[in-house]
Symmetry: D2
Subunit: 158 residues, 4 copies
């Protein structure tokens, strides 16, 4: 069975809520083992054993949060083992506006450097889901659809 | 049979040479119809009918050349029709150093906005092949491997 | 007297309206000769003779529009002559959401490659003004403040 | 007297060597108090009391290292107090090629979000100095010139 990891860092709860909606979108497809974890609890083995990796971070100064970068930097331990896996990213921003797109791109760049596969979103936030403040219904729907898209890509690639 | 389009803009011939090496890498896989074209001769129908689209541009001020952006802007005519196709990008830079990575990213962003699928490179220039000046053997090899990677992804996704 | 050029491309009129608000912010400072022009009418001499250059583009596939890239590519004619000048960028997006930040960054990258000076925005859209659809009062105010910021930086640097 | 902080993270010593060359370029101007520090030893007061802040990081997965992001994230404590200061960035990359430009941009984005002022480099690596492996004489010279440029901009702005 395909396995997708959703790993997130959340202080306000907004990024966590987005993560849960993405899980919902993945679960709805069936036949995918979805693992939802805090970034602090995510292990190198989690990365290695997943077919898809979706990472969420708040927008901190236009780049993923330190805690998320820590996981990405640690992933050097499995460098070369993630080639061809699917990657995705999402972000929420709090009071400090701006920098959402570059935050998502900062995560996707790490995936590309691992030789991973990334898909953009034709309808909605193109690089990955963005929530300004708490996710409303529209953002939650977008996250569910993003989960769908990631899951379908993982299945196509197996 | 899968179809991959390589569309490039080249003034000095360097980007063209890279395009030819990428074609070689794609051709070597067999069972792929590879179309190599100048960006000026590339039609919307070419984009629409391809399973993979690889675009090359010289590095002009850290972003793809005007002639390449023209094709990307014209692609609004088939917006929604490229979802799930594979995209790739490469660049050469002349005398003015710097901006290679952001040039490749400027093309990949367009692909993501189309809902297309992009893979990074684990070994070599991670976002896509880069040549500083005329491509030497190392760059040509990297382009051949990039063609391989794109072709294999296109095949996996069919 | 300091001279600031605002050069824009606008199809819907939204980017033009933003340009006019930025002009208002610059004019309010006094002692600055502000030139507002379509990008198609902007000459190399305009770039060369300005102390500050602010460029606006709609968001087309996450990068400035072809017409704007044409001006940036033409600026190779005055390469080395823009060092130390102030640059700024703004964008409006239409129906196709996403890509605003990367569009602004695509313009700022060109400025950095020219050796120009760029300031971020602490309050508001951090990389430069963004309007989703027609500019409302909040966006217009942000544009006026951006004009202020650019004008003050130009004055500090003279 | 103007004060410029150079804050770096270095494991191999390469980024540290670049930092020292940038200090040399700043020192040569005279009348600037230059503070060279490890990022781990850099305090919020250091950021607040400087007229210019130059940050160096190795290239880790296309984005600044965790240790550097930690400083940027901590800088929320002086958010609003860095407006109008000068920022600069540099990077070295080890075995894993690629991602240098995006690493520098990831730091510059933080500066822009603080409302800081950034200058590009006309000659050399345009977004800021890059060393692939240990800095050779050419890279060291580029770092000295970058120090000059930063110092002159800080002086112009006082």
């Amino acid at each position: 069975m395909a396995r997708v990891l959703i790993s997130y860092f959340s202080k306000s709860g907004n990024t966590k809520e987005m993560a849960q909606s993405i899980k919902e979108g993945l679960d709805s497809l069936g036949d995918i083992d979805v693992d939802l974890k805090k970034v602090q609890d995510t292990t190198i083995e989690d990365l290695r054993s997943s077919d898809g990796i979706v990472i969420g971070s708040p927008t901190y100064f236009g780049v993923m949060a330190t805690q998320v970068k820590q996981l990405i930097d640690n992933s050097i331990q499995c460098y070369g083992k993630l080639v061809g896996k699917v990657g995705g990213a999402f972000t929420s921003s709090g009071m400090i506006g701006g920098g959402n797109e570059t935050t998502i791109m900062s995560i996707l760049q790490g995936f590309l450097i691992h030789g991973m596969i990334v898909q953009g979103v034709q309808k909605g936030n193109h690089y990955g889901p963005v929530s300004v403040g708490a996710p409303d219904q529209e953002v939650r729907d977008e996250c569910v659809q993003y989960g769908n898209m990631i899951g379908e890509l993982v299945k196509r690639l197996r």
